[in-house]
Structure formats: C-alpha cells, structure tokens
Symmetry: none
Subunit: 215 residues, 2 copies
C-alpha cells in the first residue's frame, strides 16, 4: 500500500489525479496540500510514502519543498509534476532530490506507472522530459567547447561604450556622455568589433546580449 500526498494548488488537477488514484487498490491518497508550507506541516504527523509535487507551488516554491523533504524526510519519495517541460525546472528539482518528473498532460496509465516506479525508489521521467534533458546535455558540450572561451576580455572603457551602443545611443551621444572625443569612441567601437568578431554594431549587441556582457 502506497500512501500518497498530493501537493498542487489547482483544484481541478487534484480532483483529476485523485479520481485516477482511487480506482487503484494499492494506492491511497492520504492528504492534499495547496501550498508549500502545508506539505511540510502534513509530513510531521502523517505516514506518507510519496508526494505528488507541483513544481510551481504558491507560498513556498516546489523546489524548496523538495529540498526540505529530502533533507528531513529521506524515506518520502517525490514525484515532480509540472505544466512546463523546462530544462531549468527539471534539472533544479532533480538536484534537490526528486526521483521523477512528469508533465501534466501525462495520461492515466503513465501516471500510475510513474507513481509505482518512484515508490520503489527508482527514477521515472516522461518521454518528453527525457528528451529535454538529453538536449540540454548536448548543448552543454557545444557551449563549453565553442562559445565560452572565444570571448576576450573587454576593457572598462569598451564595456561602457558597448553598454551605451546597446541603448541605441549614437557615437556623438556616447562621446558627450563620457566627455571624450567622437574619434575616441569610434576607436573603442573598432576595438569592440575586432574583439567580438562582429561586422557591425548589430553583431556587437547580439553577442553582448547572448553572453550577458551588459551586466
């Protein structure tokens, strides 16, 4: 018998899941929570095997809740559920102790399978989520081998100029703003083009935005 706590603030969802689970003889829903803190509260004085946890929970984020559970209630398994197949959500909650991650468009059969798999302390991910994780792993290699290293350091002045270029100021306006000559600013522009390997200021700004050079 698997004791389940459903933690989701969307009433219809909770109803949907409960209607699926009540038909199964080995599963029993022992509680519902509509926000993060009440999940922790519930675990204090109830026997729970598995938490069906919405990643986007009000009050206390699903990720925080998951962290708390895996720290203080190690025997409680967490199956994360979310609307979004977002790489950031998936990796973050997995790093905080969730054993599985499924999407809310998951069907009845898959939901049951996921619950029973996670209850046995195995991992379960829906097909879409697996794809997302794979993609992010693929991109990590590309990113680390190509993009990162190829950006030289920009000097203080160059960064200032770049920031103003990105704000659509003209060279003359930048010169006035920095109290230097038009020609000096043009020189900085030229260095930027060369350093960032761009053909024009559009490329400058695109590269700057892609690499967070404006912070």
């Amino acid at each position: 018998m698997i004791n389940i706590l459903i933690a989701d603030d969307h009433t219809m969802f909770v109803d949907g899941m409960e209607s699926i689970l009540t038909g199964e003889s080995d599963l029993v829903v022992v509680g519902r929570s509509y926000d993060g803190p009440s999940v922790i509260e519930f675990l204090k004085d109830h026997e729970v095997d598995l938490v069906l946890l919405d990643v986007n929970l009000p009050g206390m984020n699903g990720i925080e809740v998951c962290k708390e559970i895996s720290l203080n209630y190690a025997n409680v398994k967490v199956l994360a559920i979310s609307m979004f197949n977002e790489e950031s959500f998936v990796s973050e909650i997995l790093n905080n102790g969730a054993k599985g991650y499924i999407l809310k468009n998951t069907g009845r059969e898959e939901l049951l399978k996921a619950i029973r798999t996670v209850a046995k302390n195995d991992s379960y991910f829906s097909k879409d989520v697996t794809e997302t994780i794979m993609k992010s792993l693929m991109n990590q290699r590309k990113a680390s081998s190509k993009a990162v290293s190829s950006i030289p350091k920009l000097s203080r002045r160059e960064k200032e100029v770049l920031r103003l270029i990105a704000q659509e100021f003209t060279t003359q306006e930048i010169a006035d703003n920095l109290y230097i000559s038009l020609k000096t600013v043009e020189s900085h522009r030229s260095s930027l083009l060369s350093k960032l390997n761009a053909r024009n200021s559009v490329g400058l700004v695109r590269i700057a935005l892609e690499n967070n050079l404006l912070d």
Copy 2:
C-alpha cells in the same frame, strides 16, 4: 440539461473537470477534445451548448478556435480556461467571442457557477481575472501615451529583413539575398524602426531578441 465539450490537452485536467461535472444532474459531458481542429470537427455533428476551452491548445490556438466557434456556431457558448492570468490572453479571447474566463486553480463550486452562468448567456470571470482586466484598463492610458510593451505585427517581408539584419548583413546584401532592390529593403528597415519604436538597427535587434521575434 447543458451539453458540455471539454477541450484541453492535459489529461489530468480533463479527468478533474469531468469528475466534478458528472456529479451534477443538469450537466453532461458529451465529448473531449485534445486539440483545436478536433473541437471544430466535433461541433459539426454533435449538439453542444458550452465548450470548456483551454486557451493554450496545441495545433490550433484556443483563440483561433474561439473565433471559429463564434463565427459558425453562434449558439455555442465558450468558457475559456487557462493557467495564466495574462492580460493579453484574456482580452484577446474575449474579443473573439468567449463569454467567460476562469483560471485553472478555480475550485469546484466556482467552476459550476461559471458554467451555469455562461450557459445562460451571461458573462463570468473569476475574481483574479476581473482584477487583471481592471488593471489593464487603468494602464491603457499609460500604454497609449508611451507605447511600452505592445508590439505591432510584423509582415512576412519585415520579419525576413529583420532576421537578416540580426545576422549582420548590410542592406545591399539583404537586397541581393531576397532578390529585391536596395530601396525596397530600406523601406522595410524604415517600417521596422517605426513599428518597433527603435532609433537604429541596434534597437531593432535588441527588441527582436527580447521578444523572440526571430523564431
């Protein structure tokens, strides 16, 4: 007796709503659709009073579906349901004939009330949604004077030109690439600057990247 079609691609959700509705003697769920086109298909040969329509539907957008319904099936009422309390969603679907808009965290009682209200051809909005609409009405003054976030639609050609600008091509190169005159490309550039409210191509690209206009 109110005949209801549920249009949502999230299985659990549909289960949840159905479990709520089956308990009511005056409501009957006559069908389920998991994408836009099948809603239209279903209406062709079934008697439906009300569609519970997810705004974010795959295949054919919920807004498109709603438009289609109000054009060809005027006697079918639409109650829009969404995860998001977004002003853009709310106003757009209301402009396309939806009679009500509720969020997915709506409880059992409110869902039933909303259905019965809309079925009587009255309007229904959840409290949060009403607030959103009010806020947007308040902000309309500001928005019209400043034109902050509302981005006008770009034509096919404009998007092509914008994409090439973002790739650092010159006007002449863009003209060669698209087999049109230099002057034509300049004309498109000018429209882009005006539409996106930018001073130069740097602004164009920054706005394009910030608003995912290049996909």
